[in-house]
């Protein structure tokens, strides 16, 4: 590692140390109290004190298991069909190392980027990021141009081609709009985990961890701090909210 790189890392470490001290409040000798996120009242909006994120451990993800996909479809009222005109908010992807033949299976969904390209390119402001980092489509202003679908490096977005009926009252969807994973925003706002994470836990795989990345005490933050993880296409510097382990 070059000297300049080393000094950069040193700087970063120093910065992290200082900010940790600033973020924590000393309650007594040797006791640090970090601001713990409270469950918020309905009239309180999403806050930038939180950043929802996910850590997916591909080594725990079951080969051939698609419970997360099924749970997502049920929660959000998707048909589960996988044709070119069907909506898929989360999908299982198999990746193979061509040199060794090692195959891995992982769920791919909207990565809820900090610098989301879909938000950048949207001509109407319909594609938007909430204060807590959840990327959504405002269907009231979506004109269905599909620029965001082209901009997304993860192929995470779908377009609704046909009229829909009997939607889930909590998940309005309709023809002519682009849509994608919302981290089950309706569940997160009432304090539940996204449907896919819940399904993965129920199955016993526990490959998906969901939580507040800004809360140092959250399970996901602790896991991220204690082990290595990567962003998919980290070269694009989108700072995704979803990170992977084991790929």
């Amino acid at each position: 590692m070059s000297d300049s790189m080393n000094s950069k890392l040193e700087d970063r470490r120093h910065f992290l140390k200082t900010s940790a001290v600033v973020a924590g409040v000393t309650l007594g000798p040797g006791v640090l109290f970090f601001g713990v996120a409270q469950s918020r009242a309905p009239e309180e909006g999403a806050s930038s004190n939180q950043r929802w994120g996910m850590l997916i451990d591909t080594t725990k993800c079951g080969d051939g298991c698609s419970d997360c996909v099924t749970a997502c479809n049920t929660e959000n009222g998707l048909t589960g069909h996988t044709g070119p005109q069907d909506s898929q908010w989360i999908r299982k992807v198999d990746i193979k190392d061509l040199r060794t033949g090692y195959v891995q299976s992982l769920p791919m969904l909207c990565q809820h980027c900090e610098n989301a390209p879909c938000v950048d390119v949207c001509p109407t402001g319909a594609s938007m990021k909430r204060a807590d980092g959840i990327v959504l489509v405002d269907r009231h202003s979506c004109i269905g141009c599909r620029y965001c679908m082209m901009a997304c490096p993860y192929k995470a977005r779908s377009f609704v081609h046909e009229p829909l009926t009997d939607q889930n009252p909590e998940v309005p969807r309709g023809k002519g709009c682009v849509e994608s994973c919302t981290f089950c925003v309706q569940r997160v706002d009432r304090g539940d985990k996204p449907a896919c994470v819940e399904a993965c836990d129920t199955k016993g795989h526990k490959a998906m961890l969901f939580g507040d990345l800004k809360d140092p005490e959250s399970e996901v933050s602790k896991a991220l701090k204690s082990s290595d993880s990567v962003e998919v296409r980290a070269d694009l510097a989108l700072h995704t909210g979803v990170r992977y382990q084991g790929i």
């Binding site: 713990v36 409270q38 204060a131 829909l164 009252p169 009432r190 304090g191 539940d192 985990k193 809360d215």
Partner: protein, 150 residues
């Protein structure tokens, strides 16, 4: 001169004809003015969140304001939420606010000739998560409510 007289006679005939037509048409105009107001089913709640006359003119503004707050800011109050409207006003017969011409939203919109596209995306029937339930602040398993036990 003879030509002028014939023109006048023709004009007179036309005027009489128009007059008779107008007389015949008059009762139907009266009938149009007397179209009955839509008969709306009473909501399930005790009373509406706002005064009825105010709601009649302004419900769309309230809904628009609320939708922006909910979607963009994550504010999930229930007073002016569409879900709350649907829960209270869903018809006893169809269970919906917009599946038959007598249902709450459609009855009035068809009378007023308004064609909003809310129901292209939004459900017209109440869901399993009632807004009354949602109004109570949930204790979150994601967000521990006390820092002391960490």
């Amino acid at each position: 001169m003879a030509r002028l007289a014939s023109y006048l006679r023709a004009g007179l005939r036309l005027a009489v004809l128009l007059g008779v037509t107008a007389l015949m048409a008059a009762p139907s105009f009266e009938a149009a003015a007397g179209v009955e107001l839509p008969k709306l089913e009473k909501g399930k709640g005790e009373k509406c969140v706002e005064d009825t006359a105010f709601m009649r003119r302004n419900h769309m503004e309230l809904l628009k304001h609320h939708r922006n707050e909910t979607l963009r800011q994550g504010i999930r109050t229930t007073k002016h939420s569409l879900k709350a409207c649907v829960e209270c006003h869903a018809s006893g017969k169809t269970g919906s606010v917009a599946s038959s011409k007598e249902d709450f939203c459609v009855a009035c919109h068809s009378y007023a000739g308004a064609k909003p596209d809310c129901w292209d995306c939004h459900a017209t029937k109440p869901g399993k998560h009632s807004v009354r339930q949602a109004a109570q602040p949930a204790v979150s398993p994601l967000m521990p409510s006390s820092g002391g036990r960490q």
